[in-house]
Symmetry: C2
Subunit: 366 residues, 2 copies
């Protein structure tokens, strides 16, 4: 009977720039997978970022946060745009995202950087260096210098103006992100590289110490430590040496973006923000690309792969997720490309058209 069909309550946050157009494609894919796999979704759309500032005067309306916390999973497209860049800090789109992460408590940010064989030439790295790169960056997302107190502006002992922030981690914050990272490394190639700056920062010394303790519970995973400056170099020198990387909020911000750019196709990369139980937040790693918004030029594949991550990591619907992932690969194999990943001999299509190709590929493969 119909009661055996799983039914999930999702919130979608189209946000700004290309957000609405890639969200539309994502919803079409979700609709397709729903009928193909017999899974029901009830989707509500909410405002976040610039769109919320314009409509409601705040980047994170209470109603949006409540809806997200009350969902089974949240899908976010992208936020931000030039028109809000000169707003006061609390009226900027990013504040909505930071507040949403903190409010949902999604402390673990999973950012895969995978070089697909079909797109290896998009990388600025030499083919032999880029080929086969498959890194998962696990970034701590609700602690560290992003949220540490005290912070703000003040005066120093000379009476001069200062700006300050606090990098701070507690043992339990490090312990829980460590466990997420070890679990992920265990399901991958069993290698976890923890990145810190323990030769300078006390916060990093506690990080390294706690990682080493948690490692005892995961004897099947090999833990190594690397300094952040060296990691920034090694990602370029030989990215294939990395399997899973775990690091703090600010280093994760920098290194995950560096790792994603190694692939040369950030329009292809999804991400997940999760916690131990409760809804996760899924989003492409790319931004809102205001330059090309509304022109049907955006690459919706990272957003579609974010739907797959939502199904896999957020809802445990692994089969549905894998059908979407295969369909994306199939679409590339069929030669379809958006502008950002175009190369000679391929078929240039727009946002909507490539979305339809993915849907066709889902339907063609059971």
């Amino acid at each position: 009977g119909s009661s055996s069909r799983p039914k999930y309550r999702l919130t979608i946050l189209p946000g700004d720039g290309i957000g609405p157009e890639i969200s539309k494609v994502a919803l079409d894919v979700l609709c397709c997978i729903s009928s193909e796999e017999g899974i029901d979704f009830e989707v509500q759309e909410k405002l976040l970022g610039g769109a919320a500032i314009d409509a409601l005067g705040t980047p994170l309306p209470d109603d949006t946060l409540e809806a997200c916390k009350d969902s089974d999973a949240v899908l976010l497209a992208a936020i931000g745009g030039y028109q809000w860049d000169n707003n006061e800090p609390h009226l900027r789109p990013e504040r909505g995202l930071l507040g949403l992460r903190a409010g949902m408590g999604v402390f673990a940010n999973l950012r895969p950087a995978v070089v697909l064989p079909q797109l290896v030439d998009s990388s600025t790295l030499k083919r032999e260096v880029a080929e086969g790169v498959d890194i998962m960056v696990v970034r701590e997302l609700t602690g560290g210098i992003y949220f540490g107190q005290p912070k703000g502006f003040g005066k120093n002992s000379n009476g001069e103006q200062i700006g300050f922030n606090t990098e701070v981690y507690s043992v339990s914050e490090i312990d829980r992100i460590a466990r997420v990272a070890f679990e992920i490394a265990r399901k991958r190639r069993g290698q976890l590289c923890s990145v810190d700056k323990a030769n300078v920062l006390e916060a990093s010394q506690l990080w390294r110490q706690t990682m080493t303790i948690v490692a005892k519970d995961f004897p099947d995973v090999e833990l190594t430590h690397m300094l952040v400056d060296n990691a920034a170099m090694q990602l370029i020198r030989n990215p294939k040496q990395f399997d899973t990387i775990v690091t703090n909020n600010i280093f994760g911000d920098i290194l995950s973006d560096e790792a994603s750019m190694l692939t040369g196709s950030i329009g292809m990369l999804p991400s997940a923000c999760v916690k131990n139980s409760g809804p996760g937040l899924f989003e492409p790693i790319h931004g809102s690309a205001p330059d090309i918004a509304g022109q049907d030029k955006a690459n919706p594949l990272a957003m579609i792969l974010s739907v797959a991550m939502l199904l896999k990591y957020g809802l445990g619907e692994v089969k549905a997720a894998e059908r979407i992932e295969k369909a994306v690969i199939q679409t590339l194999d069929n030669g379809f490309r958006t502008g950002d990943i175009m190369s000679a001999g391929k078929k240039l299509v727009g946002c909507t058209a490539i979305g339809q190709e993915v849907i066709r590929a889902i339907q063609a493969n059971h």
Copy 2:
């Protein structure tokens, strides 16, 4: 008469690992340029890092710091090694370096990342991306999270252990590094990119604001701002977009190492740590490479180019500096390579031998 020959007092810090062998080559080059150019040097050697820990029980003996402060310029090779890695923090080689920077007050770290045409294939980047890269990273070196108070370990309101550090900048600290960076950009291609995380950090907001104010005094330089995560990506996507970058201590640590690895030949890159007046500290950006220490395999060219930077930025002896720089290029053009930059068809030589080739090239060109 002899009173017209300039005479400089230098301190050399050979440090650890390959430090002593590349220092020896550097002294030979200094000796050569002394007789070629009629400049006198009085060089004293002091202990720093692991060597100082072993001999005197501290990574920065008072005598070393006093000698450095009392010199016209300081040349440092490299510090660190596995045998000190498990020491307590205050007995680690790096502490000596941090103490030396702070003690000398050298707040501006200049880190060039240049892809030489002779070595473009050493880069893991595609030739067309790497070719012509010429970036100067100006890193703030005596402030920010490296030195900010309070820092340490403690308990949070739940009684749980925490580790914490403070990222803090005052207006005058930002102002003085800004002026150094604008002056450098002015002598280069007139473009200064200030890197921060102003969308999240208050310390970065003060940074951005102060950079913008100082920019008014340098109307001939174009100032842009970039977020650190984006900078980490753009360095890989299109490094040629950058001329001069200015950033804080920790972002500079990460981005300058990333930029240097783009060149593929970090054995070639010198750096300078300077202040408005008083002695500067000059050192190769590479580490102490304990794996190859004592085997005459190290590449001394970064150390030799650090001597050139010392002459140019530290003593104003531009002609002597340029003779050394030209001789290094000539040595590469003559086909000599150490192992780290070796490629097919070139002549593999050791540390001492390539040093002698540079000396020969200095002597051959007036």
